[in-house]
Symmetry: none
Subunit: 231 residues, 4 copies
DNA sequence: CATGAATGAGACTTCATTCAT
DNA sequence: AATGAATGAAGTCTCATTCAT
């Protein structure tokens, strides 16, 4: 097509897989895996049909690569954030959940939730991978914090697993929403994700707390997300 | 094939649309709309490919019929349940959310959430319908109760919309889960939906309440769901 | 397309596999398996692309069906012909080879040799099948007759396997020829297959015989083949 | 990759066309022209895809080059061998057919027969070339010897063309066999090509001879082929 | 000369939909 | 009303060929 200047070829080649993953994520999340044509992915990445198959041997492998890629990135970041922190369980949970989830919510990676929900049953290998890499790791991390909060008398003695779900599931849900109904409704019912994340974490922590609820301050909405990953 | 007596034939014919909807729901939820073949739906409903098209003019119309059918049923039930009730906002919310959602969670209709999440962006007409018929009606109903709880000094003055989401989104989420990851994982990580529903509602209500948390009793898990919907 | 008269549908359906096999044989022999498009086979059989796949699940299965079908037919006929015969080994070989091979040579089934030669290395399962069903059965039959001729002092004591090959390989070869070079050359070099078969069998039998060659009559060319199988 | 000294590079470059032809012959014979990828040929010859196209403008031209190359070589050798010979027709035929064919049978060039059989109908230009260069030249040479044998009272007065075919076709056939079924069967049915060639020529010459068959000696199997052409 | 990334025509195969029975 | 044979548009993937490096 267009004449490529020297030495750009190499740079192009190394960036291809990433560009294809981005395109694939966007389209798979939007239209679903089965309804997305391989050629559309290629076109969105700016290459031809054949080139896609130079990097991924099949559409299905592309799907798996998308999920693996975006998950490993995010999970690593989250774990790191939790590692170097000390403070009360409440503070720790607020910090991790609000900062990390707000960032995730605003990034394309949030679409992976929809992708997994939608496609696991058709590609069972994804299930094991996702459960091991994401569900267990995140759940363990948060569960440990909640348990610590209970042990230290900060939280009431509730079922830890359920509490973690009460905290996390709505956050997953608004990521799903952003890429399904939220992408269709004409902005009049526009759930404000960032504000909700803060309020929700605050509310559940209030429910967990042994302190009287009045003592809990109104949650601040986080500022403009520090890292934009929109294409 | 087998000789059917005349009366049964009539009954069969009248049940066809319903049987087709059930089959379509099951398969669309399991494999996604695009990955489900029309013939599979027909086979699961015990009829031939051609017969499906006698009742629904296209696969897409079948999808819409599935969503419309299962939604209208459930929403009507929920609204009715709320109408004839009086008591505190807390009690009302517990009653509606726990009873109604537990029942929904155990019925095939729970799959509609996955279906909508998955397919709205491909069939935008679903968005408006679903938002109008389900999201708004349910949200309004619950929102009114929460606001009343605030006005009567039962709840702290939080953002009503957010509170409703904190209550409801995890419940939607476990319905999604049951039909995606939950249908794949080998039972070791088997989130107990019914127990979670009760605990979650209790936890969020505790977070909303102005009363000291100790005053809130441990939530009871509802008994065996009173209505079986297995085909 | 054209309106089909009643009750013809059923007849059509039962004839389809056979019609498809005929079309596939013709094209696979002519152009080779890889160079023949599935759609061409369908078109030659008078159906659409999709219909082909109603009867054979893949192009490869169609190939195997072609080989199996045309082989089993012919081999059975040959064995039957040999069974009810008594006379000298010379007469028996003349009878079987000339009659049966002339008929085969004039039928589309002769193309199967080219097909097997051409495709066996790409589809190894064909090798075992063909060797078992055709090579061994034919070789055993002829080998037994030659050995009997030697035992009864009619033939010289030669290597039986080699003698069978000397008899048979040229006959295979002219079948191959008819469907390769013979189908291209502009009729000036037109090996007369039927005449050659007779002369060749006669010549090799003369070489095998212990009698003086003068005693061997000139072979008669068989008349018009009694069974035409051209479509 | 590895550093090649300048002299070797030159030698390499000049050998390229030959190496490509060898690779192409091997693969075309094994898998057929259509089923062989240009890249496979290049890889077997130890060069990259692009390099192949430096020497041959298309896959089809490569095919023609392969056939032309291997044919011209062999035919020239055969004619030369026949030229400087005198003796009886029987001796001459034995000499030429057994020596020359045994050598051919053991060389990769034997594969050309399969290639021609397989591909003539797709590339009609090959037909004329092959017929002119191989069929006619070989047939004329042998036909002249047979006719001479008849004229001198050594052979019975048979149809010369047919006799030549009886002599030659089995030899062609075992070359085909070696590269098709013979390359698949698990060595239990392993036609011994060299022994067969000798026996077959002997047998047909016996059939042609006017002398009593007892006078014909048992044919010797030629020794180890004098010319190895394995790559 | 040599490479191998890129292309896109083309092949196999699937499946929604129709329609004669 | 019900069937299922038939169709052909459309999708996945391959591979001959080109061309910038």
């Amino acid at each position: 097509m267009q004449t490529t200047d020297p030495a750009q070829r190499r740079r192009r080649k190394e960036a291809r897989p990433q560009e294809l993953l981005e395109a694939a994520l966007a389209l798979f999340v939007q239209k679903g895996f089965a309804a997305t044509r391989a050629e559309e992915v290629a076109a969105l990445a700016g290459v031809s049909k054949g080139t896609l198959y130079l990097y991924y041997p099949s559409k299905e492998e592309l799907l798996k690569a998308v999920i693996a890629h975006y998950l490993s990135d995010r999970i690593a970041e989250g774990a790191a954030q939790a590692a170097g922190f000390n403070g009360s369980a409440t503070d720790l949970l607020q910090s991790i959940l609000i900062d990390w989830w707000t960032q995730l919510y605003d990034s394309p990676a949030a679409g992976v939730f929809k992708l997994v929900i939608t496609e696991v049953r058709n590609f069972p290998e994804i299930a094991g991978f996702y459960h091991r890499e994401v569900v267990e790791r995140a759940h363990d991390l948060l569960g440990r914090i909640v348990r610590q909060g209970i042990d230290q008398g900060e939280f009431r003695p509730v079922d830890v697993d359920h509490a973690v779900h009460s905290l996390v599931l709505p956050l997953v849900m608004i990521c799903l929403h952003r890429h399904s109904l939220g992408a269709c409704t004409p902005a009049d019912w526009h759930l404000d994700g960032r504000a909700f994340i803060a309020q929700h974490v605050h509310l559940v922590l209030a429910g967990l707390s042994v302190r009287p609820p009045q003592a809990l301050a109104t949650p601040p909405v986080p500022p403009i997300p520090p890292r934009s990953t929109a294409p």
